[in-house]
């Protein structure tokens, strides 16, 4: 049985919620079970916004966790909050454009992505979340890239449809970086 339990966290506005939704929707297109659970309420202002995504071949029990297998971290408060919880041998993907300090854990795999810089090179810093998603896809293979594209096309409609290609480029760049 394969199961991925991810917490994606950052400042409100960095797009971690959308990242999680795209991932959970892609899992559905891959005929897997998935849940997307947002933090909502007081945490959203100033501190960390985060969401938990569970992807599984089996029916999902808990959509909450104390010990995620994977973390996507977009700012320092999120690193401080979630790093201790990460499972041993877990995966920590770090946006080093924002997080200028090293993680403490030695028993996990750390992937450093200069996501804002790369996003800017592609044309828009707002897509740093998709660069991070790309790195996550490369490292975990949790869902197929085809399904991610399908999820993006479903989510970004109307005026936003023009941004699909940009998002896909960002995902590709993230995948490339994580491959190194």
């Amino acid at each position: 049985m394969s199961e991925n339990i991810l917490i994606a966290a950052g400042f409100g506005g960095q797009g971690v919620m959308l990242l999680g939704q795209i991932l959970a929707t892609a899992a559905m297109y891959d005929n897997k079970h998935s849940t997307w659970l947002p933090s909502y309420g007081p945490e959203m202002r100033g501190g960390t916004a985060n969401c938990t995504v569970v992807i599984s071949d089996e029916l999902i029990g808990s959509p909450v966790t104390d010990s995620p297998g994977e973390l996507i971290i977009m700012n320092i408060p999120s690193l401080l909050k979630f790093e201790p919880a990460l499972k041993e041998d877990g995966l920590l993907i770090l946006n080093t454009s924002v997080v200028d300090r090293a993680p403490q854990r030695k028993d996990v795999e750390v992937v450093k992505i200069d996501a804002n810089k790369i996003a800017e090179e592609i044309g828009n810093t707002k897509i740093s979340n998709m660069v991070m998603l790309g790195a996550y896809l490369e490292k975990t293979g949790a869902v197929t890239v085809e399904s991610v594209e399908k999820a993006l096309r479903k989510k970004l409609t109307g005026k936003k449809a023009a941004l699909i290609e940009l998002n896909l480029k960002a995902i590709e760049a993230g995948m490339k970086l994580a491959r190194k």
Binding site: T25, M28, S34, W36, L37, G41, G61, S62, D66
Partner: protein
């Protein structure tokens, strides 16, 4: 097979209501259920329905009372403090025996509390809430798909028994997204005929009277005995529950709604460590599956009830077990959601004590 879509619990319950034939919604926004109100404001005009944002929950429930008097499918949704405000009207609606659907996306309490998920409105939902000898039928979904299914069932049960039905969700279920498959749209022509009692215009016939009032105690008692007869019928026919791995289990976890799916993960984790544990999940909180739980618990070493409250459903669990064994309880409240790891630790304490 219909295509699966990724939807937030709140919106999924709204769409389920529309597909069940609900064309009237009266409500007032409150976190963490506001997406439901918002969804209905957008969706109902598309199907020639009516959405009305009332000035308060007190007004909303009385609009429900009026609309339900016509036998039309009608609902409202709210969260804990708003549901408290509706209690007077709900008591009237129960007394007047009107079909209607309420959704409470429960948040932390008491008072204004907070906006995080909780299960501390169990007493309010199952034991009254308003005044008088009445019951709501209470359904507790544990996934977004089940929320969709139970909203549909809620309308059917409301019509069948001419009784208000409550879908008791929580902030987590309202806010989370999961893939769901929606049922087909209900053909409005196939909805139950309420013309024998409803207010639909009395030209050419005797007027119908809808009231929860009778000044003569003998008559009011008669009305009450009528409600009670109906409640016994509901108890006999509508108990719903689910079990997971209880046959060989030595220990039993009991929980409902969101908490129950977290317990599902606890069952897996515990079994991986060699602890034989099963899960009992009431789906109808009223009528509560007393007999079914009693037999599920037979021969078990211990039983642990877990809730996002300080212990409310556990009272019904104890009634079911009737002193035959010790019933342990673990709960977090105020919007704190117990994690599987945390519950597993509690379970292990009980296992250690029992071995």
């Amino acid at each position: 097979m219909a295509e699966k879509v990724m939807v937030k619990g709140n919106e999924a319950m709204g769409e389920a209501a529309v597909r069940a034939g609900c064309r009237l919604y009266f409500g007032y926004p409150i976190t963490p259920q506001s997406e439901l109100t918002e969804y209905m404001s957008r969706r109902l005009p598309e199907v020639e329905g009516t959405f009305l944002q009332s000035e308060s929950e007190v007004a909303a429930v009385n609009m429900i009372y009026g609309a339900a008097s016509t036998g039309t499918r009608v609902m409202t949704s709210t969260s804990s403090p708003g549901f408290s405000l509706m209690q007077e009207g709900i008591s009237y609606i129960a007394g007047a025996e009107l079909p209607s659907v309420f959704i409470n996306v429960v948040r932390g309490g008491p008072g204004l509390g907070d906006i995080q998920p909780a299960q501390s409105d169990y007493f309010q939902g199952t034991k009254g809430g308003g005044h008088g000898d009445y019951h709501l039928i209470v359904l507790a979904p544990s996934s977004v798909q089940e929320a969709v299914d139970l909203v549909q069932l809620a309308f059917d049960l409301a019509d069948k028994y001419r009784n208000p039905v409550l879908v008791l969700a929580d902030g987590m279920l309202g806010q989370m997204m999961e893939p769901v498959e929606f049922p087909e749209f209900r053909d409005l022509n196939t909805l139950p005929d309420h013309s024998s009692w409803a207010m639909q215009g009395c030209e050419g016939r005797e007027p119908h009277k809808i009231t929860s009032f009778d000044i003569d105690p003998i008559n009011l008692e008669k009305m009450n005995l009528g409600y009670q007869k109906k409640y016994r019928e509901i108890e006999a026919n509508e108990v719903r529950y689910e079990t997971e791995m209880i046959e060989d289990a030595e220990y039993l976890l009991v929980g409902y709604g969101t908490m129950a799916r977290i317990l599902g993960t606890v069952v897996k984790m515990a079994r991986n460590e060699g602890i034989k544990v099963g899960l009992f999940r009431p789906i109808t909180l009223w009528p509560f599956p007393y007999k079914e739980l009693e037999s599920a618990a037979e021969g078990k070493k211990a039983l642990l009830t877990v809730e996002m409250s300080m212990g409310q459903m556990v009272e019904d669990v104890r009634l079911a077990i009737n002193g035959k064994m010790h019933v342990d309880f673990y709960g977090r409240t105020g919007g704190v959601v117990p994690t599987p790891e945390e519950v597993l630790r509690e379970l292990k304490k009980i296992v250690e004590r029992s071995e």
